[in-house]
Symmetry: C2
Subunit: 298 residues, 2 copies
């Protein structure tokens, strides 16, 4: 794993030689469009619907915005800012419109299946994952500065073109992201542990409070007494259902492994409560108290 920020990449400046193409102008695509234009780059975008194109033009998310894949012609770097399911099942007309010499990258939160799908499809594909987000989605969601200081993870394989990788690194530097490289499988296991599995852990809490409150005849009371702790712990479980489902679906085996690990840890705490082993419980909670700051560096 390597990490750097603002570091001079091989081929520095190559990004500015040709337009950047964006496929999709949702939260990630739209935010990229705004930041790249602000940095003086020429940005073109392909969107699915005419109504999206119209609104995206009003928001000036790119200089040229079209529903015709021909808009990508002449682009040196194309970012596939699509939901995971569409990324893994790309339409033939999109594939046909990708220039063979362009560098293609994606923004998906799962990397192994994307790499397996796309490496045979395009010789200059680079799998990457900018780890930035808000609760918003769609053409209204894009905003400036979304990627600044956030990790942008690339997961090159042994056959990834180094010049293509360098171009994506340059893109990440333009939006002031923190560049990281790691194995696709390691990425997928890590995001399962810190992002995808926690969605289910958090969702189960909402269901438990609802069902448990009902069973105890305290349906209204649990709601009246829930405070900021519950709000924080339940936030990602109450988030975008489509996104949560796609994460579990596209990162299924890592999510199941992470759930297994999680359930073991919870079972351990449960056993301490059952045994009234308060010294050991205190010691575990002290460990958690010590652990947490190491996860808050970003």
């Amino acid at each position: 794993m390597t990490s750097s920020q603002g570091e001079s990449a091989q081929g520095q400046g190559a990004l500015r030689e040709q337009p950047v193409g964006l496929v999709g102008l949702g939260l990630i695509g739209g935010s990229l469009g705004l930041d790249l234009q602000a940095a003086g780059l020429e940005v073109r975008a392909l969107v699915h619907r005419a109504s999206t194109a119209e609104r995206a033009r009003e928001r000036q998310l790119a200089m040229r915005i079209d529903t015709d894949p021909a808009v990508l012609e002449g682009c040196g770097l194309i970012v596939l800012a699509l939901p995971l399911d569409r990324l893994l099942d790309p339409p033939a007309e999109l594939l046909a419109a990708l220039p063979p010499d362009a560098v293609i990258t994606d923004v998906g939160s799962v990397k192994q299946p994307v790499l397996e799908r796309w490496e045979p499809l395009h010789p200059r594909f680079v799998a990457s994952h900018p780890m930035a987000g808000t609760a918003e989605a769609g053409v209204e969601a894009g905003l400036t500065g979304l990627f600044a200081g956030r990790p942008w993870v690339a997961t090159p394989s042994s056959t990834t073109d180094p010049a293509a990788l360098a171009l994506v690194q340059e893109l990440a530097a333009v939006v002031q992201a923190q560049w990281l490289c790691c194995e696709a499988a390691a990425h997928d296991r890590a995001v399962a542990l810190i992002s995808h599995m926690p969605v289910l852990v958090s969702a189960a809490l909402l269901e438990a409070a609802d069902q448990g409150g009902r069973a105890a005849g305290a349906e209204a009371l649990v709601r009246q007494l829930a405070s900021s702790g519950f709000a924080d712990t339940s936030r990602i479980g109450g988030g975008n259902p489509e996104l949560g489902t796609l994460m579990a679906r596209c990162n299924r085996s890592s999510v199941l492994d992470a759930l297994e690990e999680y359930q073991q840890q919870l079972k351990l705490l449960q056993t301490l409560v059952e045994e009234s082993n308060w010294e050991a419980l205190r010691s575990r909670l002290k460990h958690c108290h010590t652990l947490r700051p190491s996860f808050l560096n970003n």
Copy 2:
């Protein structure tokens, strides 16, 4: 269950007739001291250590602050702002110093054991729980406005003196809390579901990310990729270990019930992932998305 805010209580104004006594000047006691004095009430406080008394005097958390229980003499209402373990095992000299005609209340986050312990000890005891908090503790933690708009739950029994209950309601109104009454057992089940069990759910997440990251050889990567979602979900699990342990210890059976309910809900989500039943998973996550706002009224 009844609920009201700023409602005229029986015996309105009785609170101002005699000084209010605080036992303990940590987050809750100290915050009460500041708010009650700001409202023009006379506040006296008993603390355990001379060094705490000194610092509390500097912070002006009460008008008279002493380590001698005699400071409580003449108080009409005494608030036991002690940690649960000390509340459930009160020192004899404290008991001896409580005027028999004073109203006594507590601020513990578990009510059934407190009611069982204290009702035989004092004829005018009222079990209550102001649901406000920060991550801070100790004599430096108290702050003004902590209780404003937050629930203050009382759990009277069939033998609770109605005038004593009204006096505690008046106290809650002075600090602008939202008054609620419910059964002690219902309170304990509800807080297990929305506060005490979630601490363990959140703590297990920190352990799983740490252990799982280590097992996957991605100890540093999980930390680099953890973002605001992980920070929120792990916040209460990485909180005060003493408090987390006391909650589990003093509300053990309700916490175990809540954990059982939680594990069932998590298991259900796990099964959907195992079966690749994405339609059903999406539907559950949609339900969670709909549920969450009903828990965010406070």
